[in-house]
Amino acid sequence: MTQQGVRWTADQVLALAPDAASRKAGSKLGAAGPWSESGSADEGTVWGLCKGSGSKPYQTVIDIADAAGPAYKCSCPSRKFPCKHALGLLLLWAGGDGAVPPGQPPDWAEQWIKGRRQRAEEKRTAGASGSAPGSADPEAARRRAERRAVRVTAGATELEQRLTDLLRGGLAGAEQAGYGLWEETAARMVDAQAPGLAARVQELGAIPASGPGWPLRLLEECALLHLLDQGWLRREALPDGLADTVRSRIGLPASADGPPLRDRWLVLAQYDTADVKLTTRRIWLHGADSGRTALLLSYGAAGRAPELTLPVGLALEAELTAYPGAGQLRASLGEQFAPPAPAAIRPPGITTTEATARYGEALRDDPWLDSVPVTLDRVIPTPDGDSWQLADTDTDTALPLTPAARARPGLWRLVALSGGAPVKVFGECGHRGFTPLTAWPRGTGEAVQLY
């Protein structure tokens, strides 16, 4: 792998930034001014000295060769990760105008890189020799799992009782009860070690304030929660795949144990959602040869960017391992054989009619599914009153956008990209509508991120 082949674009670098302020600070440092003695080595390291406010410049070094994503080290005191210096240096390097010449790393950079490589090597040999950590005592693990199942069963039973009480008294009463009722129930589900139930209960609390039609939506969600409770309580009677799906929806831990699938994976979309405690990153991949769509999840503590970053529009040669559960697209990223590189692959698209049918079919395996990933081919973003839809070019059918997607600036990028002409759009299609995530213009243009 030559260095030229892996040189990134500024967009990819900026995608690494933990927040908007870092992105801005980093882009300001992406000019030659404050940098000195910067350089890069073919095996994938970049280093440099950045003049800050103190007398001693900060030493910044980045290892971009690691398959698990880039690693950074900087002598600055910032707790942001990566810090603005690392971002700025990568931008300078991505700019490619000779400001970061190839060369031999200085001692301070060399030491860190060597240390890293050595630890990575040790880890690899340790991993290859077998015993994964944690599985030391299978008997103890089994007992732990049994204890947890008992608690989840107690939680699910309690939740059933609360739902029954709610329906007996009427949903109208829920409007007055407000958040408090649900907050408390959600806390009980956390105690019962059923985070999936807790999250669903929490969401119920917001529905009575969500505008006209809320009783209908509240009944739907209560019914699906009831279905999940019942699925858990009768899991022994379910087919294996569905039982795994129920376990995953309840929030029990699972490990990706499917057969590894090697492919050229095109990064379709990457987006983050954040709540108070956690930032969740979703990365959608499309296998160029297998045609499979897969989802990678990565988490970061609040305010921190999740570690895994895969720039949209690039493709990587890698192995993916599926998580258990029928209709589950989640996978974990295994060995990467080459870093992400530009590729002219585009996913094949379908019509809006096929997209809704695909969602319907997916519900057979997982009735709790809110949406499925689809690529729509030849659709035109079309205004529809206050709302927007993606209309098929050749038929009179269309998918409305979700209310959330309508409010995002990405909508206008999509409309501008299309200019009233057909475009290819990847996104999530579900009962709330369509959420566009990435679009490709006619011709050969690059993928445009919409989230």
Binding site: K51, T356, D396, T397
Partner: protein
């Protein structure tokens, strides 16, 4: 309807609605369909609702397509080079105000580079990537000074886009014809129709477009409906004659001097006085000449002034405003207006065949010098007379040029505007070399960007002197900011010597040396960034990374 439509299936629909009603009221009050009342009713309701929910979701179908938008007009300009497109995204992402008033440090102020970037991109005739248009329109929305260049660059698709988003309505106003295409200017019938029936903004745009191509035709079009236009509209239309003003407009303007509206009369008089050969200019020359004469009674020739004693009706008709503003004497007020409107070419004949430079050098009796020279300045600007401007500016190194002389800095800045850009830069460079930077901000503002080499060096030298004098750099933040945007990027290498933190002399302000080094670092960083940014716009490379992976095919 926000979600895809649910298949219409009346009995099922009714069953679902009954479930929702029962759930809303509670099973104690309403027994859900298909179940017995009692303890089991809620569970039965939830079972039925779960089946119904999944059934409804699984049966979703697409909605009916609405009327699709008209396709956007084709943008035939070549696409922006990839590197330049990324640069633009970065400049646009840097919103002012995000810094929260923090000290600027050594990093460049990216958003301030947008005007230069846009100007160069427009010079090169590139089209932006369509997906960048929303950010471009948002930037133009926030900064009116960027609008003309941003909208030119944004091109026809931005106007198309602006029709779909009320936030960007300004783009329609700013575009000739409110975004509607102007008629072919070769089709008289279409022109007549738009002129007779169009909205005011459309008509102004039409008149301007015709004026730019055929000044005569525009004036003739205007005169066909002149008598029936409203006063405010007449004023705007008259103002559009400013472009391409020539002697052939005189007759029309002369008629407008008799207009019912005072503002229209004043504008007509102003336009006529900018035509030195007009009858109005000649009348003004006679009136002004009667007030100014050579006076030989003293130690040598001097100018004597006898201001007018009254403002008669013909003077008022020629645009002289009779009522003086508060605090000004009537006679000097009238006098100033006469001299301002009189053709400058008439003065040498009136004052003994002297050149403008000699005339300006003549002493003026009885404290009239300030009034007379100020009026000549206004005349030189209005008539764009470079020779008079030069004479009135005087030498940049003259001692009085720096202080409050007869000609203020604001007037000097306007006078400089009548000179060519090289001469302007040279004069300001001379001014800065003598008087330093404290008064130079306004003058620098009228110099062409990038600054010519002598001007740039004069500014850098003066900054260097200011640093050595021990003051803080923020006393010069205005000039620093201008220098970041206006210095020729090629000068960056000459600044390397200024980047180090110097030893602090004893009388210097504490820490100033460090702040100066920081300010110069920012200057150099910004210049480097501008050099990179401009070179990206020069490259004529293909705009897509299309040849890196020829073996991969598009599916």
């Amino acid at each position: 309807m926000n979600s895809p439509s649910v298949p219409v299936d009346p009995p099922a629909q009714d069953a679902w609605e009954e479930l929702v009603t029962a759930a809303l009221l509670g099973t104690d009050r309403r027994t859900p369909p298909g179940s017995a009342p009692g303890r089991e009713a809620p569970a039965a309701l939830l079972d039925a609702a779960a089946v119904e929910t999944v059934r409804r979701r699984a049966g979703l179908r697409p909605a009916l397509a609405a009327q699709r938008p008209e396709p956007a007009p084709e943008d035939t300009r070549p696409a922006l080079p990839l590197a330049a497109a990324r640069r633009m995204a970065m400049l646009l992402a840097d919103r002012p105000g995000m810094a929260g008033g923090a000290r600027r440090g050594t990093s460049p102020d990216l958003v301030e580079l947008l005007p230069e970037w846009l100007a160069r991109a427009n010079d090169r005739g590139f089209a932006p990537p369509p997906e960048a248009l929303p950010a471009l329109l948002d930037a133009a929305r926030g900064r009116t000074d960027l609008r003309p260049a941003a909208l030119t660059f944004a091109g026809p698709r931005a106007v198309w886009l602006a029709r779909l988003n009320p936030d960007w309505r300004f783009a329609l106003r700013a575009t000739p014809g409110g975004g509607a295409a102007l008629p072919h200017l070769d089709d008289p019938a279409e022109i007549q129709q738009l002129w007779q029936e169009g909205l005011f903004a459309e008509r102004v745009a039409l008149l301007a477009a015709i004026r730019a191509r055929e000044p005569e035709a525009a004036r003739e079009l205007l005169s066909t409906t002149w008598a029936t236009e409203r006063a405010e509209d007449r004023l705007m239309f008259l103002d559009s004659l400013r472009m391409g003003l020539g002697p052939r407009d005189e007759q029309f303007l002369e008629q407008a001097l008799a207009d019912r509206s005072r503002n229209v009369r004043a504008t007509a008089a102003e336009l006529l006085s900018a035509l030195p050969g007009s009858a109005l200019a000649a009348r003004m020359a006679v009136r002004a000449g009667a007030c100014v004469a050579l006076d030989h009674t003293g130690d040598g020739p001097a100018i004597g002034v006898e201001a007018p004693h009254e403002c008669d009706a013909p003077m008022e008709r020629d645009g002289v405003v009779a009522k003086a503003p508060a605090g000004r004497g009537e006679r000097s007020w009238w006098f100033g207006q006469l001299v301002e409107a009189a053709p400058l070419g008439s003065w040498p004949g009136r004052l003994g065949g002297r050149t403008p430079r000699e005339i300006v050098a003549l002493p003026v009796r009885d404290d009239w010098q300030a009034e007379l020279h100020a009026a000549w300045c206004r005349a030189a600007v209005r008539q764009r007379d470079a020779e008079w401007a030069r004479a009135l500016l005087g030498s940049p190194s003259a001692p009085e040029a720096g202080g409050p002389g007869a000609v203020s800095l604001a007037e000097r800045a306007k006078l400089l505007g009548t000179l060519g850009s090289a001469e302007r830069a040279e004069w300001v460079a001379g001014f800065i070399a003598t008087h330093g930077l404290s008064e130079a901000f306004q003058l620098l503002g009228v110099c062409a960007v990038p600054w010519a080499a002598p001007l740039g060096r004069a500014v850098v030298d003066a900054l260097n002197i200011a640093r050595d004098a021990g003051s803080y750099p923020w006393s010069f933040s205005g000039v620093m900011g201008l220098a970041e945007r206006c210095l020729d990027p090629a000068e960056a290498s000459r600044l390397d010597g200024l980047l180090a933190v110097p030893d602090e002399p004893e009388d210097a302000s504490p820490g100033a040396g460090g702040y100066w080094a920081e300010a110069f670092q920012r200057l150099v960083t910004t210049l480097r960034l501008r050099a990179a940014m401009l070179s990206e716009l020069e490259s004529a490379a293909p705009t897509q990374a299309d040849d890196t992976h020829p073996h991969l095919t598009t599916t």
